[in-house]
């Protein structure tokens, strides 16, 4: 094997590795500028990814343009193969994200909105920036995202809003016997540390499994059965580690079915008003 390596030009290995670094750096820089970046990392890291991508390109160019003679070894071949394999994997993941993402500027399908169980539904407006508070039926609700509410409770804070409005994805996991679960995926850095934060909920019987919903409601303590259900809600193989609040349930006083937010993940979490309403 080494004899074969020796038959190639002495600078070949450096040039190959330079080309791989150039491709990797280019991929990172391009992804950092892509609207699909959130599929992999928290968008606040895009400058870091861009910087690293550019730096890798510079290192790659140095190896391509000013290579040094070096022996080819199995070890070098392996590291080249590993990085090439990753490039293929990343391209596949990116392609998958692109194929599933809506076109730029598309705000999602028109949602239907409804109120409480059994109420008629009506067309909901597309998601847009709104104020930190909203009034429904004469009651004022504070807007926040589900992760912020979860974190407040997890910290043992008692100053969480009595009435709040939040957007969440509704599912009815089999493990919960059809009970509604409101959840959002929260990403601190990357998908590997993402958490699927959830609350059991009631008052959402008219909403179907898999729909996005804007809930105006309040919290109520879970009973013993609810606490047991909250512990089992994370079963199964999932993208994110699912954690369901073990002590509180969301009671929906009003709800509207909405289009899926773009991006659907939560990346920002604030401790006080105005909350990161997404």
């Amino acid at each position: 094997m080494n004899a074969r390596f020796r038959s190639v030009p002495p600078s070949f290995q450096d040039r190959v590795e330079g080309a791989i670094l150039l491709c990797l750096g280019g991929l990172m820089a391009a992804l950092a500028n892509s609207r699909l970046y959130w599929n992999f990392l928290n968008p606040r890291f895009s400058p870091l990814t861009l910087g690293a991508g550019v730096a890798l390109c510079v290192c790659g160019l140095a190896l391509i343009l000013r290579p040094e003679p070096g022996r080819g070894t199995i070890s070098r071949l392996l590291r080249q193969a590993a990085l090439l394999g990753f490039l293929c994997l990343a391209a596949t993941a990116w392609d998958q994200a692109a194929s599933l993402a809506p076109p730029a500027g598309f705000s999602g399908p028109s949602g239907v909105s409804g109120t409480q169980t059994g109420q008629p539904v009506e067309a909901a407006p597309p998601l847009k920036p709104e104020g930190p508070r909203v009034t429904k039926g004469g009651v004022e609700y504070l807007r926040l995202n589900l992760a912020e509410l979860y974190i407040m409770l997890d910290k043992g804070r008692t100053d969480y809003p009595a009435r709040f409005a939040l957007r969440a994805h509704l599912t009815r996991p089999a493990a919960l016997g059809g009970q509604a679960l409101l959840s959002r995926i929260a990403v601190v850095c990357c998908l590997a540390d993402s958490l699927d934060l959830g609350f059991l909920a009631r008052g959402l019987d008219g909403v179907q499994d898999g729909q996005w919903v804007e809930v105006y409601g309040r919290l109520e303590p879970l009973d013993a059965a609810g606490k047991k259900a909250a512990k089992t809600a994370g079963a199964g193989r999932e993208l994110s580690l699912r954690v369901v609040n073990p002590s509180q349930r969301i009671v929906a006083e009003h709800a509207e079915v909405i289009p899926a937010p773009d991006p659907p993940f939560l990346f920002e979490f604030r401790e006080k008003e105005p909350f990161a309403w997404q």
Partner: protein, 323 residues
């Protein structure tokens, strides 16, 4: 990857999740690995062989303290720490300082400490315990491995065997590495090339480890977590295993640990302490960079020490039960 927002895999191929997670881990860690490679290369090119001689002349306890505290001035995460430690050893930094630095720096650095403090709601005790649980194994291993030289610790089978004195680690002929002294442009070019090769060399471990972590994430049933959290004897080993398998960066793991509030605090500390010292990215790097006995010591001793210390904390009631 535009995943189904609830995270369900009902309509997702497991491979797609695997690819997305592996890609995201590599993309997250790559800048830090690059930073580590750059530091390593700067040390190789600009630091003379005697640059670290003063550290080697210090008494062993002082060497260990220097190694433990170095993370405060050389902040890095575990993603890029091995190439820096390898370079420091090649440049004459004694193992008594280099090993504690390698194990402790991912936690004993401002970013990681601040993240832990924020994630645990300003609870200084969690920050202090985390530091202590990392510092103790790091110092112990620094003490144990201090007697050796770099050649006793590092594997000669690596490309480093062809190292020509500046620690290029890439299998190059020696002649080209006789640097032109004093020419800054040439030295900068050397830094760039060395950084690229070092990144390639350590990048394979990042890729392998990320793929393994993604595979675990796809295959690991989360339903196991709830029953494990109720029993300290199961919770601590479970969180140790989770720390290794999830391979989360030391600057983000505190947020994940804080969310697992159903686990007792000693188990959360086990997660926070072991992850930066041992995960699926570090494991192949240890086994390839260090001699096999040294690598196994680096793998087993921190895991055992963290397990014993966290169980002691839990059983003694110092940390209490679940939060």
């Amino acid at each position: 990857m535009a995943v189904k927002p609830c995270g369900s895999v009902v309509d997702q191929a497991s491979f797609q999740i695997f690819a997305a997670i592996a890609t995201s881990i590599v993309l997250e860690a790559a800048p830090f690995l690059l930073l580590g490679s750059l530091l390593s290369s700067i040390i190789a090119v600009f630091a003379g062989d005697g640059a670290f001689a003063r550290v080697a002349k210090k008494p062993l306890p002082v060497q260990i303290v220097i190694g433990l505290a170095a993370g405060l001035v050389l902040p890095t995460c575990e993603c890029g720490i091995v190439p820096v430690a390898r370079r420091l050893l090649k440049k004459g930094v004694p193992p008594g300082a280099a090993v504690p630095f390698m194990l402790a720096a991912p936690v004993v650095n401002p970013v990681s400490l601040a993240a832990t403090w924020v994630a645990f709601q300003g609870d200084w005790s969690m920050v202090a315990w985390r530091v202590l649980l990392v510092v103790l194994p790091a110092a112990s291993l620094g003490w144990v491995l201090a007697a050796g030289k770099d050649s006793d610790l590092l594997r000669p089978t690596l490309d480093m065997a062809h190292d020509c004195g500046d620690g290029c680690g890439c299998g190059h002929d020696h002649a080209p590495h006789r640097r032109l002294p004093g020419r800054l442009p040439n030295r900068l070019l050397d830094v760039l090339r060395l950084t690229g090769r070092e990144f390639m060399d350590m990048g394979r471990f990042l890729v392998i480890g990320s793929c393994a972590a993604a595979l675990c994430k796809v295959l690991l049933p989360q339903a196991w977590l709830a029953p494990l959290s109720a029993n300290l004897w199961l919770a601590v080993p479970a969180m140790l295993l989770l720390a290794v398998l999830m391979s989360i960066c030391s600057e983000a793991d505190a947020f994940v640990a804080a969310s697992l509030s159903m686990f007792p605090r000693p188990a959360l500390l086990a997660f926070l302490a072991l992850g930066p010292m041992l995960d699926l990215k570090l494991l192949p790097a240890f086994l390839t960079v260090f001699r096999r006995p040294v690598a196994w010591v680096l793998i087993l001793v921190p895991a055992l020490m963290v397990y014993v210390l966290c169980m002691s904390l839990g059983l003694s009631g110092v940390m209490g039960g679940p939060r």
